[in-house]
């Protein structure tokens, strides 16, 4: 087996010295940070554009109810005729003209309010205007019923249900989403790694076939050793690239953040799903105490288990998929022939991510989540989304965790055995149009 390190070293160096690899390694963090900065600027620029709306109020209601806020301000066109007001609003390039006609009944007035606009108004703007109208109608009607002001004030209050488990431990709203998001991050990492670096392995196999060196090599080493060396060498190159990206990306983000004078958290905010963002805005809502509770809850995640599981699922998942990629590479003569085999490989990965985000986030321990976290081709991603909830009570049941790992190991052994057989025959086959039937036949060769 002393030849394995030699093969790993060659594969690693061949990959790392490859020009496109170097370019990608350098360019990607720049691109990533550049994109983040661009998105940030665009969002900011979009929000900073302040809209001005003219109001022509001929009724007795809604006086001084439309107040300026950060994105919308109002200009009063009191006393103007409607047509003149429309003209001036258009000439002044105002966002629109809000016309409130005469009337004695607030409900009738509210129903006949019109907004004249050059282009169809944004939903946000529309709903904020409608909110003002609705609240005002409600208030006026309640007041007509003789409801006192204190009561009216109290009606606006928000109520929040406090969540506890049966043992009385406090639960925080949104914490499950945050946790699943963390696990989802790990799962996503695994998927990206498999897709990018699995294809490396495949390309490297195809290169050996097309350059016809393969027969020279396997007259010196066992095909299995070569395949294993290839997978390990390429994944080490991948890890190198990932580490460089993380380091460079972090440094660049901090530099950029310092330069722009914003916090990194703000930059990252755009990538957090809405539920989690809600929960987070709860933090920035000024409730220091609550923030600490969230932090405490996050620290309570068994990071040890999570990280160890990440490594296990990562290694096994990656080995399973990259052996499949190696077998595909061996079965074809060139990269264009690989396409028919790529879809079935990527399908379970995609499924895992979508099922994860749409189902596991909402119900981390529901039947779909359990099924997909046991099925070996999706478990590396889906199980990691469930694991931040912990193992045992309240989290992933121990039997599920163990079953998932056992199934994964069994599949790993089976797939590697299968892939090695296809690989061994495939690398010496030229000019044969590969098909599943053909590959099945290869399995029976001794």
């Amino acid at each position: 087996m002393h030849k394995l390190p030699l093969i790993i070293k060659r594969e690693y160096l061949a990959k790392v010295r490859n020009r496109s690899f170097i370019v990608m390694t350098i360019l990607s963090p720049l691109l990533f940070v550049g994109m983040a900065a661009l998105v940030f600027f665009l969002t900011k620029a979009n929000n900073e554009e302040k809209k001005v709306m003219a109001i022509l109020n001929e009724s007795d209601f809604f006086q001084d109810q439309f107040r300026d806020d950060t994105s919308l301000s109002f200009v009063d066109f009191r006393g103007m005729p409607v047509e003149a007001a429309k003209d001036s609003a258009q000439h002044a390039a105002y966002y629109g003209l809000l016309y409130i006609p005469k009337g004695g009944d607030i409900e009738k007035v509210a129903n006949s309010i019109e907004l004249f606009c050059k282009e169809s108004p944004g939903l946000g703007t529309l709903s904020s205007v409608e909110n003002v109208i609705r609240n005002n109608v409600r208030e006026v009607k309640l007041r007509n019923f003789g409801v006192p002001d204190e009561v009216l004030g109290e009606l606006g209050k928000n109520y929040e249900i406090s969540v506890e488990n049966f043992t009385g431990e406090k639960k925080l709203r949104g914490i499950n989403e945050i946790k699943a998001f963390i696990g989802g991050g790990f799962g996503y990492l695994i998927m990206m790694f498999i897709i990018i670096y699995g294809a490396f392995v495949m390309r490297s196999v195809i290169e050996e076939k097309t350059s016809r060196i393969i027969e020279v090599i396997i007259s010196s080493v066992k095909p299995f050793q070569l395949m294993l060396g290839k997978i390990i060498g390429n994944s080490l190159a991948g890890i190198t690239q990932f580490v460089i990206w993380i380091i460079c990306g972090t440094i660049l983000l901090f530099l950029l953040a310092g330069f722009l004078g914003v916090s990194v958290g703000e930059l990252g905010g755009s990538r957090i799903p809405p539920e989690a963002a809600d929960a987070m805005s709860g933090i920035s809502g000024g409730m220091q105490e609550k923030a600490q509770l969230y932090l405490a809850e996050l620290l309570k995640i068994s990071w040890g288990i999570l990280l160890v599981s990440f490594v296990i699922y990562f290694v096994l998942g990656y080995l399973i998929y990259s052996s499949i990629y190696a077998a595909i590479g061996a079965a074809v003569d060139n990269e264009t022939d690989t396409q028919q085999f790529m879809f079935p490989v990527i399908l379970p990965l995609m499924l895992a991510i979508y099922v994860g985000f749409f189902s596991v986030f909402n119900n981390p321990h529901g039947p779909i989540a359990v099924g997909f976290s046991l099925f070996p081709l999706t478990s590396p991603i889906v199980m990691l989304m469930r694991l931040p909830g912990g193992i045992g009570a309240g989290g992933v049941p121990v039997w599920q965790f163990v079953t998932s790992i056992v199934l994964l190991i069994a599949t790993f052994l089976f797939i590697v055995w299968l892939a090695a057989k296809i690989y061994r025959v495939g690398i010496l086959m030229y000019g044969k149009k590969p098909s599943y039937k053909e590959m099945y036949r290869w399995l029976k060769y001794s």
């Binding site: 030699l6 490859n18 290169e207 016809r212 060196i213 027969e215 020279v216 010196s220």
Partner: protein, 312 residues
């Protein structure tokens, strides 16, 4: 002389297709052994079995008296017909890598490479990438890599393809030199003139079966047909030809000569010796040309393959 390699009743099937059917061979040590056969006869499968790239379904292969085992690959050098090198890797680095895979230490490999690069005058290529070299140049590197670890057994599959005549000659001389130093060579090719030139023994495989093997001279002796090519200077050509046809099997012959003579191919039968023929001819004409027709490997190849195909 003992046999370095013995193949005993080896059979190999790929699904329904029989690649080798009960093939046995003996490759004597220190010889150049020609492995011949039409395309798809099973040569490559046999060579791959010897290299332990694939394994026989039944039958055994012994190397130097012991059954073939993984340790033997360091004693075998194999130049496959489908060959190539990593295109974007540098020559020196690549040669070192392949040598180390054959079990040499880095230091040994470097020393041996220096010897071979000097010998073939390719020292300046060390830092070049394969893709910068011509096909012939890359073939030279490939040859060096094959022989570098001084294997006991060398297997060359079409070694001269991709070489110009000058370089093919250099490689031929190197193969002979390696043989003289004690290496045993298995040589698979379709170029029959190089078989004539190089091989001591041959085996002929057709449609997965061995149909002929032995020492090249023995085989030639076995295939001699007592036929002589003669050039006769005489006034009465037609009369002489007629007389000859009454006694022997005669056919026209074609060879270059200076005189306008009767050129014939005469096959002896009925206990006639070459001397009888010569006496007969001398008494009737001037004999300018008299030579035995030795069957070429090419003729033997074509004839045996045809015979075995018609039997099958």
């Amino acid at each position: 002389m003992n046999n370095l390699l013995e193949v005993n009743s080896v059979s190999k099937k790929y699904g329904q297709f029989t690649a080798l059917d009960n093939v046995s061979l003996k490759v004597p040590e220190g010889n150049i052994f020609g492995l011949l056969g039409p395309n798809g006869a099973g040569k490559t499968t046999l060579i791959r079995i010897i290299n332990q790239i694939t394994y026989p379904d039944t039958g055994t292969v012994t190397f130097n008296g012991t059954p073939l085992q993984p340790g033997h690959i360091t004693q075998i050098g194999y130049l496959p017909e489908e060959r190539g090198l990593y295109k974007s890797m540098k020559v020196g680095e690549q040669a070192l890598y392949l040598a180390q895979l054959k079990g040499l230490s880095k230091k040994e490999a470097r020393e041996k490479l220096k010897y071979w690069f000097d010998r073939l005058e390719i020292g300046g290529w060390w830092n070049k990438k394969i893709q910068e070299l011509s096909k012939g140049m890359a073939q030279k590197i490939q040859f060096v890599v094959t022989v570098l670890h001084q294997p006991k057994l060398l297997i060359f599959d079409e070694p001269f393809s991709g070489f110009d005549p000058i370089n093919a000659n250099i490689i031929k001389d190197e193969i002979l030199h390696l043989r003289d130093q004690g290496a045993t060579v298995i040589f698979s090719t379709h170029r029959m003139e190089s078989v004539e030139e190089l091989c001591d023994d041959i085996a002929l495989i057709n449609k997965s079966k061995k149909i002929l093997d032995g020492k090249l001279v023995d085989i030639k002796r076995q295939y001699r047909s007592n036929t002589f090519e003669v050039g006769l200077d005489t006034e009465r050509k037609e009369e002489l030809q007629q007389q000859l046809q009454e006694r022997f099997t005669v056919s026209p012959a074609h060879f270059k000569s200076l005189a306008d003579e009767l050129k014939l191919r005469i096959q002896l039968q009925n206990g006639y010796s070459p001397n009888d023929l010569l006496e007969y001819l001398v008494s009737r004409s001037t004999v300018n040309h008299f030579v035995e027709v030795i069957p070429s490997v090419n003729d033997i190849f074509i004839q045996t393959v045809k015979d075995s195909d018609s039997h099958a």
